[in-house]
């Protein structure tokens, strides 16, 4: 039984394929409480409902953008707690958003310098003049 035809819930293996995360990691996340009370089938196996999968997609993005697991758990809890805590949820997300935006800017700047380095090496390789815009020394 891969998919519950009625509810659309899937097994952990399927969830793994969908999300790209190893099964072990999904279990780890579950242990850490990221999914709250994940439903189980008669045999005790986890059933990832469409809701859980949707949540997982968001959690994954939070993780990928560098939010620590503990904070992701907090966020997931807010979500589960429902509407009256939306303020906390929003605040958490907003704060994170700022961090990510800064990381992004830093990453872009670093990438630019790396690209410039590549161009410089390439030029030297070809015996041409190095490109302009030095950021520091030329190694």
């Amino acid at each position: 039984m891969i998919q519950d035809e009625l509810t659309g819930a899937v097994t952990i293996g399927e969830a793994s394929r969908i999300s790209g995360l190893p099964i072990e990691t999904l279990r780890y996340y579950d242990r850490e409480g990221l999914f709250g009370e994940l439903p189980r089938d008669a045999g005790g196996r986890r059933r990832f409902t469409p809701d859980a999968l949707g949540l997982l997609d968001v959690l994954l993005r939070l993780r990928r953008t560098g939010m620590p697991v503990e904070q992701v758990r907090e966020f997931a809890e807010y979500v589960r707690a429902g509407d009256h805590l939306r303020a906390g949820r929003l605040a958490l997300l907003r704060a994170h958003r700022e961090r990510v935006a800064m990381d992004l800017a830093q990453l872009q700047a670093d990438l630019e310098v790396i690209d410039w380095k590549i161009a410089a090496y390439q030029a030297a390789e070809d015996g041409n003049d190095p490109p302009p815009r030095d950021s520091m020394t030329t190694n």
Copy 2:
């Protein structure tokens, strides 16, 4: 003696202030061979030459963009080895560049979704309609 007036070399403490890295981390990097043969003063203290500082700036960018320490060491070695290995240097940098570009794209996509989530929560808070463009479920 903070700066050697003749060579422009600085102490580890100064290098730490310049780079923003803790002294401990600089020593760790040195142990890992990122700087190769770092010059020492009469008393055995590390002297960060302008060259070393310039290199450090690049290494730092590589680290920030997610290159593992071991690979950074490899790169630094190429640099030290001089011109005849420039091809390896270039290849390593190019490969890394691709990875970073992909990370960047992923980060941008994730940030977009997070922003959309924020907007959705905000709208719900205000009692307005949620914004368009759903990526998955609405939690």
